[in-house]
């Protein structure tokens, strides 16, 4: 179990967490706007319930408050890497489906993809701060799956964006947990032990 941080590491982490919270807050509001555009553009029903989409990491978590800092970071990193691939795929599909007519939606998707990529890098940096090299990405891409119908693709996209919005919410809370000073020492605990 790593001992408590050096002050500089704690300061650095706090700074990274604070900036990460802002980034993920902006991302969440953009994703929520994107959801509205996507639903309208794709002719979907906003209240449609979408079953768990294969390959999309669910934000739902049990005993969230008992997770260690490292668990939080690793789960976040795996999720945003997956979203990066999923959004890139959606962008591709969307261009094929809507072409020029869907340019605005495409730009919005690309903007969110950019933020997801930036946040992914941010998480990797946080992990490196703990002298933990981020897990490699080989084989992380979405599993090959049978071609989906157009409607299934659209529903899937809805599921991806909804889950991403939830992840953005969770990530902000995770980062706030990480940024918490550990009791007594005033400096953030080592990642392994931060609740």
């Amino acid at each position: 179990m790593a001992g408590a941080d050096s002050p500089s590491t704690a300061l650095r982490r706090r700074d990274l967490c604070t900036r990460g919270i802002r980034l993920v807050g902006k991302m969440r509001s953009d994703v929520i706007d994107l959801l509205d555009t996507y639903v309208e553009r794709q002719g979907l029903d906003a209240s449609a319930s979408v079953a768990a989409v294969e390959g999309v990491p669910p934000a739902a978590v049990e005993r969230w408050d008992e997770q260690t800092g490292t668990q939080r970071l690793l789960e976040n990193l795996a999720a945003y890497r997956a979203f990066r691939a999923l959004l890139a795929q959606m962008l591709e599909e969307q261009r094929e489906q809507l072409g020029e007519a869907g340019a605005a939606l495409g730009r919005a998707l690309a903007a969110v993809l950019l933020q997801v990529s930036a946040f992914t890098y941010h998480l990797e940096e946080l992990l490196r701060l703990e002298s933990r090299s981020p897990p490699s990405e080989e084989g992380d891409g979405p599993p090959p799956r049978p071609p989906l119908s157009l409607f299934e693709q659209k529903l899937r996209g809805l599921g991806v964006l909804r889950e991403l919005a939830q992840w953005a919410l969770r990530s902000a809370r995770d980062l706030r947990q990480l940024a918490k000073p550990s009791p007594g020492t005033g400096s953030a605990p080592g990642l392994a032990e931060s609740p």
């Binding site: 319930s49 739902a60 969230w64 969770r170």
Partner: protein
């Protein structure tokens, strides 16, 4: 033996095993019932109302043996109950509370089921108040909706209501606590307001609250508002000098849910300069100096305005 009947119903009571043509006496809460309500030995109550609830007894004519006794409860079947679920201690859990829109006048039993996805969750009932129970979040950040069904049953009927909601939609903190407003010395247009997170909010660090402050002078109806995304204090800088203000604060999770109710109102009046007593002081100083010219008022006494001093 308890008997339930709907308001407005026609009720027929037989005198136990007595024949239709047997001579009997019926009482309601010990008072004989007029023969006009009898059909043979049967008691007929038309279009019953709430006042006719009570104990009904039938006695055999000659021997006064008690042949039949029942307690009649007149009431109504339950209407669709009103159900409300809310999380004021996110992310620990949420509670649901309910009531009936109109009384039924007879005992009702409530059953609540909480389903999250495919999982049934336990709703721990409060001893007091009886119509409330608590559910602990087993999962956070879920896109799966919660479905809460409340069923109410009584002897005359049954009804239910269902709520479906997202985890985040029902998050509504309690109002901020310990709201204090104070004048700022030497600042006639400022008021310093401070408050605390509601004590029911478990983790303000990871689930920060933002606040909404509203204030107005008592003499005006129009509120002024300011939203504050962090911190639990604010200085009002545009208060009308000398006017008493009423101030309230509300809270909301930074990212999700809805605003709390307004806090308890507090009152405060901005700092004002001490009033100068121009008249009476000036006269006292004048008469004292004429008779006892050697005794001068100590500097600490309220010094009159130089212009107002006469003959000094």
């Amino acid at each position: 033996h308890m008997q339930y009947e709907r308001v407005g119903a026609d009720v027929t009571m037989k005198c136990g095993s007595m024949d239709w043509d047997a001579a009997v006496t019926w009482t309601a809460n010990g008072t004989d019932i007029d023969e006009s309500h009898l059909n043979g030995s049967y008691l007929i109550l038309k279009n019953v109302d709430l006042t006719q609830s009570g104990q009904y007894s039938c006695y055999e004519g000659s021997s006064w043996h008690l042949k039949y006794q029942t307690y009649l409860r007149v009431g109504t079947p339950p209407k669709e109950p009103v159900l409300m679920c809310r999380s004021n201690n996110y992310p620990k859990g949420f509670y649901c509370s309910w009531h009936l829109p109109t009384p039924t006048y007879i005992p009702n039993s409530f059953n609540i089921s909480v389903i999250h996805g495919t999982k049934e969750m336990i709703c721990e009932k409060d001893a007091v108040p009886k119509n409330r129970c608590h559910i602990r979040y087993l999962q956070l950040f879920s896109t799966v909706k919660y479905k809460v069904t409340l069923t109410v049953t009584n002897a005359l009927g049954k009804n239910f209501t269902t709520l479906t909601f997202d985890e985040v939609a029902i998050v509504k903190p309690d109002p901020p606590e310990s709201v204090v407003a104070k004048p700022v010395p030497n600042n006639p247009r400022r008021l310093e307001v401070s408050w605390q997170n509601p004590s029911s909010w478990p983790d303000p660090e990871s689930f920060p609250l933002k606040f909404f402050l509203r204030y107005r002078p008592l003499i005006l109806d129009q509120w002024q508002h300011v939203e504050l995304s962090d911190g639990t204090s604010h200085t009002i800088t545009d208060a009308y000098a000398g006017k008493e203000y009423i101030i309230q604060v509300a809270a909301k999770d930074n990212d999700i849910g809805t605003w709390s109710d307004w806090s308890v109102a507090v009152h405060a009046t901005p700092w004002t300069e001490e009033p100068k007593h121009l008249t009476t002081e000036a006269q006292i100083t004048e008469t004292t100096s004429a008779s006892t010219s050697s005794f001068m008022a100590p500097p600490t006494t309220k010094i009159c305005d130089k212009g107002a001093m006469v003959g000094s």
